[in-house]
Symmetry: C2
Subunit: 401 residues, 2 copies
């Protein structure tokens, strides 16, 4: 049996990021940068005032000095002249410091009347002046490729004068649910059948990870149907199948896809819930086969699909992000399989995060998965832990998983 | 001066959630549920097998018993007959248990040949049977209104047979940047001007919060222009302005909007960065006026706009979510203003989260904001803290802020 880490490393090692596309700045949020954002200007573009007040020559602005107010410099309307000896210019936050001035007399430290301002607090040279380039300088690399852009990054790229951003194309992920027993929600349910939940849960995870899901029609457990539907996946960056991955079904998927040149690897992963995983290629398209059990499918998607989506999107290869928490109940010793305990999160009296596993962890219970806030990770052969012990957990609400 | 908590409570108290719309299941991800998801069927719909093996009568399946295999029940193809004494039916995970059978003999505990299966491990009644309704029962409320739907919720709603979901309409947020000195990225920059970064950063935050941003043309500092552009905001659930909120500008916005029946409240908030905030109504549209300084605008947006967006979206009123971290450096005593220190996050040797403030916190430094991973919260008059002390912080990467 393969470990979770080995399986993930093999999957991620076989993937390459999508090429770049040019998107308008407002479309950049949540996308992964493909080329660096370089500052196209210097910010601030000149020395500017950090406060409302008066631009003065510090040498003149001694206590009780009276300076002639010769003009005004609101933001966006620089004072064209020069501040000479004994002079001051009314100034506002963000406005360029006029020539000749070297400091700001704060509004609250001044009394103005009849074109004259009286200094009530002596001024130091350079005081309340934001230097040209304090934030960034033209040519400076501001945002590096591989970063998923936040709202703040969009603001920074705007300030650096970029109307366009070069980002990785959203990976298109084909999703193929197989099985005679499943029907789409609202469609007639065959005798002995159930409603398909995997395809749309996985599609939502793909959206959460910044991908573009393509839900294919359900394929019955029939060689021709699987092969025909899978052919539709050729335009995808990754094909995800669910179902058809138990021991008996293994040959069906392999044979059905084999006529399209499918090179399949069938892995038993030492994890729970999870069991078998298919990994291979259909022509050049990588194929990730998840189990048909909804809880197993989603836990495998968290461990393998989400990191794969990140790599396809241009982000660095990494395991799912975890948090440290304290066990809300005692945990038994673990067996040889890497375990994922569905848990709720809370805070204790000291503000520490507590992860409490649900008492029942049956892998068919989708409701428990939906209500979980985290998956407590239990390594193979992890020893029993008392309540309160430190545990690692994958927070599921992060990015809407 | 108003406290951050009072200001937020007043803002949230004046907002109501948007009405519901019907969206197709795949569009439900990230939306806020407006009506409960009630199970339309029972899951599993009958007693089903939890494993691959043989459906048997436990009374017969004693050690070394030999049972006649009379049929097969793959998932989706229930066995139509009845399991009689001395009989067994081949069964697969998820398949309905045939009538007469009351337990599963595991595949690995059986040896099958020539239509006969030999029991190598005695079977208990009920063993490896998942009872009808183990996951949920028809009529059960599965997902409550007010919840932002995760991928797992979409899966659960699908399994409960819902092709449609009733969710709150995305709040439409008008965004109006004012100022003679600002230009859109790539457009000609006026003398003494800078590139506008607030509108698109705030639009990205609105997207991150599940809203629908409407970026209005920049309004110059001119009464008519502000009034005309703001009129376009009548169709919005909230109008956000940036700039025009310093002491001198206050009258301009108030007068410009006043002719449209603007009832304005001008608040000084005891926070840093931040200073003044406008809150009022333009007809029936609530108006939130953020400062023009990009860092102040975004920190105010985190504290006031994001919670407002959540309430408009149908989520409960709440402050921004925080994490507990340990200070990465000593923190000085705080003054009367609630402070937000831009900080990076890391993990120490024990796996604990450490939040380390940037040495320079000048409110004009957008680059520092973009590189921050959290805002350390410092209450008014918070005492000095040594390195390692517990602090609360708002994680900014959550939801792409």
């Amino acid at each position: 049996m393969l470990s979770v880490e080995e399986a993930r490393a093999r999957i991620l090692g076989g993937l390459a990021p999508t090429p770049a596309e040019a998107v308008a700045l407002p479309e950049g949020w949540g996308r992964v940068l493909a080329r660096p954002v370089i500052a196209r200007l210097t910010q601030p573009p000149a020395d500017v005032s950090a406060m409302d007040g008066y631009a003065v020559r510090a040498a003149d602005a001694v206590l009780d000095a009276r300076l002639a107010v010769v003009g005004s410099a609101p933001a966006g309307h620089p004072y064209a002249g020069r501040v000479g000896p004994g002079q001051a210019v009314r100034i506002f936050t963000g406005a360029f410091i006029p020539q000749g001035a070297d400091a700001i007399l704060l509004q609250e430290d001044a009394v103005a009347a009849d074109g004259v301002v009286e200094v009530r607090e002596a001024v130091r040279a350079g005081r309340w002046v934001r230097r040209r380039g304090l934030d960034f300088a033209e040519g400076e690399a501001l945002i590096a490729p591989g970063r998923r852009l936040t709202a703040r990054d969009v603001g920074l790229a705007a300030a650096a004068n970029h109307p366009w951003l070069m980002v990785h194309r959203r990976p298109r992920i084909g999703i193929l649910a197989t099985g005679d027993e499943i029907a789409l929600p609202g469609d007639p349910i065959p005798p002995g059948g159930i409603v398909s939940s995997n395809a749309h849960a996985i599609a939502a995870m793909v959206r959460a990870g910044g991908g573009d899901p393509l839900v294919l029609p359900i394929a019955p457990d029939d060689r021709e149907a699987i092969a025909a539907t899978a052919a539709a996946a050729r335009a995808c960056d990754l094909l995800v199948t669910t179902g058809g991955a138990s021991v008996g079904d293994h040959d069906l998927i392999q044979t059905a896809l084999g006529q399209d040149g499918f090179a399949l690897d069938f892995w038993k992963i030492a994890m729970r819930p999870g069991k078998p995983l298919i990994w291979g290629r259909l022509g050049t398209t990588p194929v990730l086969g998840l189990p048909g059990n909804p809880v197993s499918a989603m836990v495998c998607a968290v461990q393998f699909l989400m990191p794969a989506l990140a790599v396809l999107s241009g982000e660095p290869a990494a395991p799912p992000p975890t948090i440290q928490a304290h066990a809300g109940s005692a945990l038994p010793e673990n067996d040889k399989r890497f375990d994922h305990l569905r848990a709720t999160l809370s805070r204790d009296r000291d503000g520490r995060v507590v992860a409490t596993p649900f008492p029942q962890q049956d892998s068919s219970m989708l409701k428990t998965l939906a209500r979980a806030e985290a998956l407590i990770l239990r390594a193979p052969y992890a020893p029993a832990l008392p309540e309160g012990a430190a545990v690692e957990a994958i927070p599921l609400d992060r990015l809407g998983l």
